[in-house]
């Protein structure tokens, strides 16, 4: 009969008290596991692994705002860049893929962000190694007012292929609803990224929305500002605007409206997602962009990592400390429970010693009890924590867009059990010493 069996029988003898103390450890560990699972999902959503682009190019301003608006669609856009600039970047030998994005509007129902982009956005990976998958019956965008919607948009608005919707200008507090009606042609399967909460339209359709065109005079001014340091490019852009202007003036002179396509020089994009041919190309391109024009390129991870470290990282640390303290308090309750039981168990220990148990053996039995309660409680809590994550995962995803991996094991969890073992040894030491010191003759005579 091993010390473990003897300790287990002693625990069973004080079933209720033992169960309650183990439960308190279990609750602490369960909370810690939940914090780790959720923070793991947040880390994953905001890490390099979640973005399959090297750079995001946007107007000069806050890098964090650019990433939050272009990748996470949480912030309004900074400003716009000339569409011509996107075309230039597309031709850069270092660029493997450049995807334009135009955004700023939201759906009238549910206020989901609207992103105008090209088909390349969907052929590229959305996270490294993961391609978009279109739900059953979905098709490509063919028309200016076709839309592809994320899984959460479909679920919350109960939109299916063929559903029609309108968009409104600006954010949720915008008041101007555009007249154009978009039609859902495909629903993207869940990705666990902000794409699930986004409505995608053809970028040409985005420009075709009434009110989205910028007056040519204003475009001229913006191009002049943007290409101030590059007269050659400025001239070529302004020439294109002059042609467009002439066409518009001719149409007006004939008493009608201009119905031709928007010239590229008059188009604008909010951000450009860049995938370079190598990491070195990304560094080189970013460095080049620092110097010229009015644009900037940011590594999408850097500002997010700063945010994570400065804000979310501290929140995570705070929660970890809190759950750590809960486990510590649970450990102390194990100490109190075992220590209090020692006076009742003096005779029991005396009997064992009279039967030949050495002092070390009774010390070991009490210590093993503490370990069983602490580690057993911890294991139960670990299972509860991950089990609860399994149950909660669909609700968390629906509410936040975070894709939880309930059985993902954080490296911290590997440290947890050795720590629990150490805690058990610590809180079990004094009661074990009390057992060790028990005077057999005294214990039996009582």
């Amino acid at each position: 009969m091993s010390l473990l069996v003897i300790a287990w029988k002693s625990i069973r003898e004080r079933g209720l008290a033992s169960a309650l103390t183990a439960l308190s450890v279990a609750l602490g560990v369960m909370l810690m596991v939940l914090v780790l699972v959720i923070s793991g999902a947040v880390d994953s959503a905001f890490s390099q692994k979640s973005i399959a682009y090297h750079l995001i190019v946007g107007p000069k301003g806050s890098g964090l705002q650019l990433v939050l608006s272009a990748v996470y669609r949480m912030q309004p856009a900074i400003e716009n860049l000339p569409y011509l600039y996107y075309k230039e970047l597309q031709k850069d030998r270092r660029v493997e893929s450049a995807v334009p994005m135009a955004f700023g509007d939201v759906t009238e129902e549910g206020f989901f962000p609207l992103v105008g982009t090209t088909a390349e956005y969907f052929t590229n990976d959305y996270t490294p190694g993961k391609k978009f998958r279109i739900g059953k019956g979905g098709k490509r965008i063919n028309d200016d007012f076709d839309a592809i919607i994320g899984s959460e948009v479909a679920r919350q608005n109960q939109w299916i292929i063929g559903s029609q919707f309108k968009i409104q200008h600006g954010g949720a507090d915008g008041t101007h609803v555009h007249n154009e009606k978009f039609t859902v042609v495909a629903v993207i399967q869940q990705t666990g990224t902000p794409n699930d909460r986004t409505v995608f339209v053809n970028i040409e359709g985005f420009y075709a929305i009434a009110g989205h065109e910028t007056p040519l005079g204003e475009v001229e001014e913006r191009l002049t500002d943007f290409y101030a340091s590059d007269p050659e490019r400025l001239k070529s852009a302004l020439d294109e605007i002059s042609v467009a202007k002439a066409e518009v003036e001719a149409a007006v002179a004939q008493g009608g409206h201009y119905h031709g396509a928007t010239p590229d020089a008059a188009k604008e994009v909010t951000a450009i997602l860049i995938r370079t041919r190598s990491d070195f190309d990304a560094i080189s391109l970013r460095s080049d962009l620092k110097e010229g024009y009015q644009a900037m390129a940011v590594n999408p991870i850097v500002p997010i990592q700063k945010l994570m470290n400065n804000v979310l990282g501290n929140v995570k640390k705070g929660l970890m400390v809190l759950t750590g303290m809960i486990i510590l308090v649970s450990g102390i309750s194990i100490f109190v429970s075992i220590y209090n039981s020692m006076s009742d168990r003096r005779r029991e220990i005396g009997i064992m010693r009279a039967l030949g148990a050495r002092r070390g053996s009774v010390f070991g039995i009490v210590l093993v009890e503490s370990i069983v309660l602490c580690v057993g409680g911890g294991l139960t809590g670990w299972l509860f924590g991950h089990g609860l994550a399994v149950v909660a995962a669909p609700y968390v995803t629906a509410a936040t867009g975070l894709l939880l991996n309930p059985w993902a094991v954080d490296p911290m969890e590997f440290v947890l059990f050795p720590l629990l073992l150490a805690l058990a040894a610590l809180v079990g030491f004094l009661p074990a010493m009390s057992a060790y010191r028990t005077d057999v003759a005294d214990a039996l005579s009582n």
Partner: protein, 229 residues
Amino acid sequence: MSLQLENVRKSYRVPGGKSLPVLGIDSYELAQGEQAALVGSSGGGKTTLLNVISGILAPDTGRVVVSGTDIAPMPEVVRDRFRAEKIGFVFQTFNLLPGFTALENVLLGMTFARGRTDRAFAQSLLDRVGLQDRHHHRPGRLSVGEQQRVSVARSMANRPALLLADEPTANVDPGNQGLILNLIRDTCRENTVTLLMVTHATEVAEKFDRVDRLQDFNRPEAVSKESAV
């Protein structure tokens, strides 16, 4: 000899720093397989004597030879091991562990002696004391007589050379007293185990061929004089 005491002295420290002599035994012996009843007044040192013989307490001086080995000079940890292997105990209050079944209580004695158990032998011991159908009952579900029988079975678990019984029938109903007493004596006889049984009951002592009165060979007052000298 199975048990031999020579010049055993044992005193307790009492409040005030004084010493209270309890044992002063010049010589006491029991042969292998011999059975003796030990009688004496309350507070006369019977329990202390059993504790010294079993190695729970070390004597201040003297030799305590059990089965040819003097246990007095042994370190405590060695005495513990020796006690587990060579000495069986039957207590007045049975001292069974409440969380363990009858069988587990018997196995427990084996665990502490050898670190391994002989389940078949433990079961045969319980069968021998008439508890064939009580192996898996906890003490709380056994009658007083049955508990003491478990205690007897446990005392034999390590095939001891010496069995110490401290008023084993005192808490047992009169109907069971004779049964328990015979069981202990018969079991010892069958296994050639030396038996020293402390008792207050004359009807129990009368059953033994050898009855020793503690006051006849224990003279703690002599220890006081030695100390004074």
